[in-house]
């Protein structure tokens, strides 16, 4: 199904798209039909800068199990970072 489900998260950082690096301001997360991945549904992440238009976008479509492993890896990396390097989490 087209899930209609999207979570939007304000983010601060940079992404690299077809035109090179740009500041990203938003990330969207949704489980839906992929454009490219050979699957019925994937966990899709878009890193966006709507102020620069729809083409300011870095997209990935992940197998749901891989997406969960990635999320856990992100959290464990942040949790195990040396003291003082990670602020505001």
């Amino acid at each position: 199904m087209c899930t209609y489900q999207t979570q939007t998260v304000p983010v601060r950082g940079s992404g690299k798209g077809p035109q090179g690096w740009f500041p990203v301001t938003d990330a969207t997360v949704y489980l839906d039909h992929p454009v490219h991945a050979p699957a019925d549904h994937t966990l899709n992440l878009d890193f966006l800068n709507p102020g620069r238009g729809p083409s300011a976008r870095v997209a990935v479509e992940l197998d749901p199990a891989a997406a969960r492993a990635l999320a856990e890896a992100i959290l464990s990396t942040l949790d195990s970072a040396p003291a003082g390097l990670v602020r505001g989490t």
Partner: protein
């Protein structure tokens, strides 16, 4: 009938007079012919939907797929446009109806048109095909596994969609529904509820639920593809349109 066709990107007027992009495929010989508005699914105005549009032209129909995300910019790639539209909460129902109305006007204006226009949509487009058929003077509509015609999206979602079953008394044309027995969106129980609403309203419809098929069984590029259900479904679609749009 010859088999030459022309397929190209065009511009036409949609909801509120907005300029839209669309993919028009039409047979090159003679007429008169019926028209089909092909409503793309939520991931956008993609290659698979353009292929479907050409398929209708190959079978003798004037077919137009409006890019429902045209407002994101004509130069924007379809997948980026779909992501942007999605992040904004998707397409409002009134805008969808206006865009399909514009596509129908364009099809009827073509020299080979017989004035009869139908719709077809898959997945979210199936819901929108039903919505258009309850809102516009159309001659036939096909709903391929459209979710949320009956039932609401789960709580907490930002999408601007709600159930449409209450519109059944307004259905303006015959409706063909093609569903998968293993689908949960819509579930067989939900399609049965829609069928009861249509019967109660005295509407002309035919529903087929394919055993062994789930959601997306027409999608040849996905694991959900079910050749038997898709082949049978295409035959039913062309039979249905032959009765209501052709000539």
């Amino acid at each position: 009938m010859g088999d030459a066709m022309r397929a190209e990107t065009i511009r036409f007027e949609g909801h509120d007079g907005d300029e839209l992009e669309g993919y028009l495929a039409q047979p090159l010989d003679g007429g008169p012919r019926g028209g089909v508005v092909v409503i793309h699914h939520m991931p956008g105005y993609d290659e698979a939907t353009k292929e479907i549009t050409r398929r209708f032209a190959a079978h003798g129909y004037l077919a137009l797929c409006p890019n429902l995300y045209s407002r994101e910019g004509f130069e924007v790639s379809p997948d980026d446009a779909a992501a942007a539209a999605r992040a904004k909460g998707g397409i409002p129902d009134d805008q969808l109806v206006g865009d399909v109305a514009g596509a129908a006007v364009h099809l009827r204006s073509l020299p080979g048109s017989n004035g009869r226009v139908g719709t077809i949509g898959y997945c979210s487009g199936g819901r929108q095909s039903f919505l258009a058929a309850c809102s516009l003077p159309l001659q036939a509509a096909v709903d391929c596994y459209g979710a949320f015609v009956v039932g609401s999206p789960p709580e907490g979602l930002a999408m601007r969609v709600g159930p449409l079953v209450h519109l059944a008394p307004q259905l303006a044309c015959p409706l063909l529904g093609l569903f998968g027995a293993e689908d949960q969106y819509p579930s067989p129980g939900q399609t049965a509820e829609l069928e009861r609403a249509l019967a109660a309203a005295g509407k002309e419809y035919e529903f087929h639920t394919c055993e062994g098929a789930g959601h997306g069984f027409f999608a040849t590029d996905r694991p959900s593809y079910r050749p038997e259900a898709a082949t049978e479904g295409w035959a039913r679609i062309f039979d249905f349109y032959a009765r209501h749009l052709a000539g």
